[in-house]
Subunit: 210 residues, 2 copies
DNA sequence: ATGACATGTTGCCATCGTAAACATTTCACT
DNA sequence: AGTGAAATGTTTACGATGGCAACATGTCAT
């Protein structure tokens, strides 16, 4: 670094972050297969083995990208939720955000849940996933349905809602839901059970003020 | 075919079928990455370009395997269903079969819904998928819930149930559902809503005899 | 019989991920 | 300040993969 303007410094400076960003861009453009270490390195302007210093392997890079995906995913779910005060509307807003993100970023969304590409036991990825899960979990708190009062009731609610919206998103992305005779695809709102909204089937929580 | 015992005929005889079977075996052993055209060809005892004559490309082979997967998937769902006469038990049996198949054949199951590996617009694959869908569809017929009487009610029921069980299976396979504080994972029965079993919430169908 | 077609093989190429050896920069410690 | 270890990038090379072209062999309709 002899001149004040670094023409092409030997060290990139923030390569790790740049690789994740460019990697996401590549994935959005051409899907997961479009993301090769060599293409990515060329795009950022480094040698094709430079990513190895930061991620160890392609799998490590994909794992890091998936973690970033979960962060964006959580943000997408939160969008619109804070505007609503009604628990029903908040839940629906989160669900809608979930599906909207999946449709807007299909390859990234697929990567996030692909144990084929990611190391699901990676600490960062798990933390990011938990953050995303926490959004849905918080919104689902207090919702009542026929299994809410059983042991692990809160967790049952979370897993049930997550399974429902995740399954819809996956099937929708796979292009399988468009098999209807009319050719139209049901929206998520069309299959979202209303039962989850009933706030008082068993015993209403006294201090339930969100 | 000059001798009654074909030592190693130039033509395999039923290579297409053999490739699918061996391909599934490879996938079950080492996951999708374990299935390379070369490894598969070596396993069957042909040159590495022989599969090309039958499937065109690796993608075509994977698509054919996925179609076979859907056939087995449909069979797994049917298992246990015919024993039951109660609609609730029949539905639960199909759902259980769905999850059981996914857990017993995780890689194959993942392949079946991966537009990354398969050509989802392939005629055979779509037909196989429809057959599998028809199993669930038939069992879901007549079930009542809060959206069963709206337009496209039957299809809403199918898609809702499919999304729920498929999402659970996918999340379960991804190893994401084991994040509970107790470390235990909720079974599908723990999150299966009972509401779908109530046969008369709105207006009971007169001829509802399954 | 014979020519078209299906089926299978050999050889080759571009691309990829990974690894080792080396170069350059940064940084902690004295 | 000086120095060695660590971090960060590069170069070169290797093995594996999917796809393609050219060719070989068997099958089948006419």
């Amino acid at each position: 670094m002899s001149s004040s303007v670094p023409d092409r410094p030997y060290h990139h400076g923030d390569l790790k972050h740049a690789l994740v960003q460019a990697g996401i861009a590549l994935i959005e453009e051409g899907g997961i297969p479009a993301l090769s270490l060599r293409a990515l390195a060329a795009r950022v302007g480094v040698s094709h083995t430079a990513p190895r210093n930061h991620f160890g392997s392609l799998r490590g890079l994909l794992t890091a990208i998936a973690a970033e995906g979960f962060h964006r995913h959580a943000r997408a779910m939160c969008e619109g939720v804070s505007d609503q005060s009604d628990p029903q509307a908040r839940l629906m807003a989160a669900m809608t955000g979930y599906v909207r993100f999946a449709r807007a970023h299909p390859a990234l969304f697929g990567l996030m849940f692909s144990s084929l590409h990611c190391d699901m036991r990676d600490a960062e990825l798990m933390a990011a996933g938990r953050d995303s899960y926490a959004v849905l979990s918080g919104i689902a708190r207090g919702l009542d349905w026929d299994k809410a009062d059983l042991p692990d009731g809160q967790r049952r609610t979370e897993v049930m809602l997550w399974s429902l919206v995740h399954g819809y998103a996956q099937l929708s992305l796979a292009g399988i839901l468009a098999n209807g005779p009319s050719g139209t695809m049901l929206d998520f709102a069309d299959i979202m059970p209303a039962f989850a909204y009933r706030p008082a089937t068993a015993s209403p929580a006294p201090g339930d003020r969100s």
